[in-house]
Structure formats: structure tokens, C-alpha cells
């Protein structure tokens, strides 16, 4: 089956007019991506239980059309590849647990002329409340530091 990009329909902007490049942190298996969009709105996206991720800067030499958006890759060859690898390496019990009900997904975030992020994970959360609080605290701290 051919790969398909399914728009996640999240109300976030990944377009060229980003206020800043996205930054990301992998910690304890979760990948957190954050950036300010073109309206200077803070966007945070949490990829839960992400064993594989890849970021590649946009490069004009690659001759790929820049585009933006956030997708799930259906019939992902990348996901199938890692599923095959993990089947060989994990115990049957762990493999069954890890891939039960096809819970792993391949998500793709394209940031036009900045780069592209591919992640394999269990789920995706947009602007989780607890993270918003942390970011707000950080923003307040930075603001008070510059006054």
C-alpha cells in the first residue's frame, strides 16, 4: 500500500513565518517540541513514548518542495521497517506489548524552509496543560529578569 499523509487537523502553524526555529528535547522516552509560531503564540507538542525520531534541516540541494503541516503517515514504510527490526530484537512478550493494537504511529511535522521532524511514538499531545504552566513560569522568569 502506498504511503499517505493524513492531516492531523491541529490548529497550529508550522509555516515559514515561524517566530523561531523549533527546539526539541528527548527525555525519558518522550519528545517535546516547542516553538513560537508566526503570531508569537507558544506551541508545544509532546510525543509520548518515542523510541525513534529524526530531524533534518531543509536543504535546497535536496530539490524537495518546501511544505508545512503536521501529519500522520499512514502505511508508513519507516514504521514497518522499525516494527520488523523490533520483532527480531524483542522478546515475543515485549513485542506484543509494544505493538499491541498497532499503537505506534509515525508522525511528520514539516516546517517549510526550516526542516522536517519524523517521530515514531504512541501518541501526540498538543499544548499539554502541565507543560503550558512550566512555559508560562519560564516566560515570567525571563520577563522579570529583563525588567
Amino acid at each position: 500500500m502506498e504511503e499517505e499523509l493524513k492531516d492531523l487537523g491541529m490548529r497550529i502553524h508550522t509555516s515559514f513565518f515561524l517566530h523561531e526555529d523549533p527546539s526539541f528535547t528527548l527525555e525519558k522516552g518522550d519528545l517535546l517540541v516547542s516553538y513560537l509560531d508566526h503570531d508569537e503564540e507558544s506551541v508545544t507538542i509532546l510525543f509520548v513514548d518515542a523510541p525513534v525520531f529524526k530531524w533534518v534541516d531543509y536543504s535546497p540541494e535536496k530539490k524537495e518542495e518546501p511544505s508545512h503541516g503536521h501529519f500522520e503517515v499512514l502505511n508508513s514504510k519507516w514504521l514497518e521497517h522499525y516494527k520488523g527490526v523490533s520483532e527480531k530484537k524483542m522478546t515475543p512478550g515485549d513485542f506484543k506489548l509494544e505493538w499491541a493494537k498497532n499503537k505506534k504511529h509515525h508522525y511528520k511535522l514539516r516546517f517549510e524552509k526550516i526542516g522536517c521532524l519524523d517521530v515514531i511514538c504512541d501518541s501526540i499531545k498538543l499544548n499539554p496543560e502541565e507543560l503550558d504552566e512550566v512555559l508560562l513560569e519560564e516566560a515570567d522568569f525571563k520577563k522579570s529578569g529583563t525588567d
Binding site: T25, E27, S59
Partner: protein, 136 residues
């Protein structure tokens, strides 16, 4: 030409480390973890254009590696079609592999000047029932 892994002499060890924290901001990637001696390791990668993390159980390499390498004749570097960059691979044996395409990297650990490499490798740990990257 076949890919080759060439060991890079560094002042830190990736053997039996804790799960690393990997942060990318602009063109810099900061890697932080506690090594097998419980010492804090910090490594900065400069002018990064690509990065990949693969947990060990999803990694097709055979056996466990616990060293820092430069990937010679890198297929990924070739596919990216860029010049003047290098492909480094940091292997955290039972945890995973970090691949970075960048200009260079440097050890920013506080004891980096005094840390001999691989003074003593600890005994292999038993495999956990659940993957290490899963939170308890």
C-alpha cells in the same frame, strides 16, 4: 563504498550510561547524561543539520556498541547531499544510538580534561523486563 565506523577518541564514555537527555536549539544539539561512574557528561554538537535517535530495541545493528564513532562513507550524509559535514554516531549500548550530522562536537563536562576514557568497564547489567526508555 561500504559504510565504516571509525572510533573517535573522546574524553567521555557512553557505556552503561543513564538514558540521555537530547536537546536541539537552533543549530546546536546538547547531549546530557550520567555515565557509569555517575558523573555528569555534557557534549555540544555544532552546526547540526540532522539528528536521529533510535532506541536499541528498534535498531538494526547487531550486538551492542558503547563507543563514539565517525561514520565514514555515510549513506545518510550522501543522501542529504551536503559537503563539509561529518556523521557521528554515539552508541549507548543497551539504550540506543544517537546519529548527528554536524561540523564538530566538544566535551563540555566539568571534568572533561581529567577523565580518562574507559578506565574500567563495569559488568554487563541484566536486561530489564521493560524497555529502559519506558518511564516507571
Amino acid at each position: 563504498m561500504e559504510e565504516e565506523l571509525r572510533t573517535v577518541g573522546v574524553g567521555f564514555s557512553t557505556a552503561d550510561a543513564e538514558f540521555p537527555k537530547i536537546t536541539k536549539q537552533e543549530g546546536k544539539v546538547i547531549l546530557k547524561y550520567k555515565d557509569w561512574r555517575e558523573e555528569d557528561i555534557t557534549v555540544h554538537f555544532h552546526n547540526v543539520i540532522a539528528i536521529k535517535w533510535v532506541y536499541e530495541e528498534f535498531d538494526e545493528r547487531a550486538g551492542e556498541r558503547d563507543d563514539t564513532y565517525e561514520v565514514l562513507n555515510s549513506k545518510w550524509l550522501k543522501a542529504l547531499n551536503v559537503k563539509g559535514k561529518r556523521h557521528y554516531k554515539l552508541c549507548f549500548n543497551s539504550i540506543g544510538d544517537l546519529d548527528v550530522i554536524c561540523d564538530s562536537f566538544e566535551d563540555k563536562s566539568s571534568k572533561s580534561q581529567q577523565s580518562p576514557i574507559f578506565l574500567k568497564k563495569p559488568a554487563e547489567k541484566a536486561s530489564p523486563w521493560r524497555p529502559l526508555w519506558k518511564k516507571s
